[in-house]
Amino acid sequence: MTDRGTSAEKPRVGLFVTCLVDLYRPSVGFAAIKLLKQAGCEVDVPQLQTCCGQPAYNSGDDEHTRALALQVLQAFEDYDYVVAPSGSCLGMIRCHYPDLFAQHELLARFQALSAKSHELISFLVDVLGIDQIKASYTGQVTYHDSCSGLRELGISAQPRQLLAGVDGLSLTELEGREVCCGFGGTFCVKYPEISGRMAADKVAAAAATGADTLLAGDMGCLLNLAGKMRREGVDTRVYHIAEVLADMADAESIGEGKA
């Protein structure tokens, strides 16, 4: 158990890794830990975590969603903060868990969990008050806003502010910033033709900026866009924003083979 009296100086953060980072891109998890530690946090990764339950939630399966939400609650409620490198999973915890337990005796606990849960970049900027992170990345970058981050959590200025402080990086905005990239969880496999067209349009918008690198804060969008770019033979590098900010974007980019 946390002794909240002494944690005032060094906030104890439980990192919610998210299933896609866990499976596909562990380096994003390590980047998140590095950023949080640099910012003066004590970081722990609870072992009893898997998924936030969003696939079940968006499939109308509230029963399984509640069970998974409960698992998250039990694993994380003792931390000062819950942080995840994803707007989508965090939107789930922050906005939808309390809805799911609206008529439930656990509501107060889920509301408390919601209040202390934050997406990584907005946590650094809005909660810890960081306005610059020392990092360097040589490249012309464009940034894709994930829909949940943008609309459920209001994440828009924060990543841009931190990217502006990265040495060697220049950011060009793509057209149609607030338009979905076509991932949408199960949507992308249920309606691949529509999803594929949405992804193609986003890839074209990114290409039109002349950027050599695409960044975003959500693995779902990143896998979708990197996958579409590779299919179309576009060789834009694709990274999670945390990798760049943590100076860890020297590994192969998403979907790139080892030479």
Binding site: L23, S59, D61, G182
Partner: protein, 472 residues
């Protein structure tokens, strides 16, 4: 219209491969979306108006029975008649009866989604009346024998060339022989043809954007003035509306009017906004001798009683579809019925059933852009999820999907097992995908790899690597 929502997937695939449709849909973003954005910027109180509208409409729905009865009483006081229809079938019968009793030959229609919802044209034509749509978009579709593909701009899917051909072939019998190509010339020809129809009409049927309880008035907004002619020239006027169109006061209507044009077409106000109250009075210069209002339920009271109630706030501006990335790619016809896009994906399953329209709540990435532009703050993604929940509970989704979900959830609820399985699976995938960094095909992921590669995982899972590092 015969519903084709069941075939959403096939409809959508076809739409994606239709270049003229794709070109037409591209204009949405520059037209309606940009127009709304400019209006939003120019009106500092836009958000406050949305809040107020939500409040007013929630209050109205809370007291809907009382406001409907008040509205009915006012219509009767002004000499009009109110007819209640619980189903589409009843509404059709009422309208046909009124036209029969009026001894009508020619019927003209102003654009109305309720007319589309109940299929008034078909019913009237079967009963032997000549029906003419007077809204230019609807008129084009009537000639083309197509359903609307957008609730505000019904013929948005048609290119100018297609319309030139259509007029050329269908107006010939009326003595117009030239194939026109100029936009203004096409409009002028339609206007000439329609002017005659207005003069011959015995009955005019319009919709209503709002019904006002305190005065018994109905409000229609148009940009062509066809609604006014349809309601003032014929001897008999019929207004078709649904129970969710009533608002308490004129003040409330003007609040909603400020949001409607801006959200729909990016206009501060439409070219015509017409308030009609009852039949012609002795001192009036014109107006109908008979004034009928047909008020339709068609599953709306079911919605009123349940979780989908917020949908009844809808003022039919179309902003949700204009901003929907799915609608923007596949267009309105793919949805298979008259209400497309996000609002249609809620309404169609309610009105036609989830068996017919089961695709629609799922054909959405839940990106939420629709809800942020909705002038009356309908939580559309949440309502679509509610419908997905109904599908899940009624076991209407595919067995494979249900099974996959159950197995995945079972494992995800056992973190240690989950971590062993994923560690193994990811290590193998990482090894196989090491050189290419991606997979072009993957068993069980055909939906993904049909249109994009699957990036390979980096190596073992984060959890496995983290544990290893901590042990060192």
């Amino acid at each position: 219209m015969h519903p084709r929502s069941k075939f959403f997937e096939a409809n959508a695939t076809q739409a994606l491969r239709q270049p003229s449709l794709q070109a037409a849909l591209k204009q949405l973003e520059q037209g309606f979306v940009a127009g709304r954005a400019a209006c939003y910027e120019a009106l500092p109180e836009f958000e406050a108006l949305r809040d107020r509208a939500e409040e007013v409409l929630n209050h109205t729905l809370e007291n809907l029975d009382a406001y409907l009865l008040e509205y009915e009483a006012r219509v009767i006081e002004t000499g009009g008649q109110v007819h209640w229809a619980s189903t589409a079938d009843e509404a059709r019968r009422i309208v046909v009866d009124i036209c029969n009793q009026a001894g009508a030959g020619n019927v003209i229609r102003g654009k109305s989604m309720i007319g589309e919802e109940v299929g008034i044209n078909d019913a009237l034509e079967k009963a032997g009346f000549e029906v003419t749509e007077t809204d230019l978009g609807e008129y084009i579709l009537q000639l083309a024998e197509e359903p609307p593909s957008h609730i505000v701009a019904p013929a948005i899917h048609k290119t100018k060339d297609e319309i030139s051909d259509l007029f050329h072939s269908r107006h010939r019998e009326l003595g117009y022989h030239e194939r026109l190509t100029e936009r203004s010339a096409l409009v002028a020809e339609a206007r000439q043809v329609l002017r005659e129809k207005f003069q011959q009409a015995d009955v005019g049927i319009t919709g209503a954007n709002f019904l006002i309880a305190e005065t018994g008035s109905n409000v229609i907004v148009t940009n062509e003035g066809n609604g006014d002619l349809s309601s003032t020239l014929p001897r008999v006027q019929i207004v078709t509306a649904a129970i969710d169109k009533v608002v308490p006061t004129l003040e409330d209507a003007s609040l909603l009017l400020r949001l409607l044009g801006r959200s729909a077409t990016g206009q501060e106000i439409t070219a015509y906004t017409t308030f009609t109250t009852g039949p012609r009075r002795q001192t009036d210069a014109d107006g109908p001798a008979e004034y009928h209002v047909v008020i339709l339920d068609n599953h709306r009271s079911e919605m009123l009683a349940g979780e989908l109630r917020p949908m009844l706030r809808c003022i039919r501006c179309g902003a949700c579809m204009n901003h929907c990335p799915v609608y923007g790619r596949v267009g309105g016809h793919a949805y298979g019925w008259i209400y497309p896009g996000p609002m249609g994906s809620v309404l169609t399953p309610v009105m036609l059933g989830l068996d017919e329209a089961g695709h629609l709540p799922n054909a959405c990435s839940l990106n939420g852009r629709c809800a942020t532009v909705c002038p009356v703050k309908i939580p559309l993604p949440q309502l679509l999820r509610t419908l997905r929940g109904r599908q899940h509970r009624r076991r209407l989704n595919s067995r494979t999907a249900r099974m996959g979900l159950s197995i995945w959830a079972w494992i995800a609820l056992r973190p240690r097992l989950y971590q062993s399985i994923t560690r193994l699976a990811m290590s193998i995938m990482a090894l196989l995908g090491r050189r290419q960094g991606r997979f072009r095909r993957m068993p069980l992921a055909g939906g993904w790899t049909r249109v994009r590669d699957l990036p390979a995982p980096q190596g073992s899972t984060f959890q496995a690597q983290w544990r290893q590092r901590r042990q060192q």
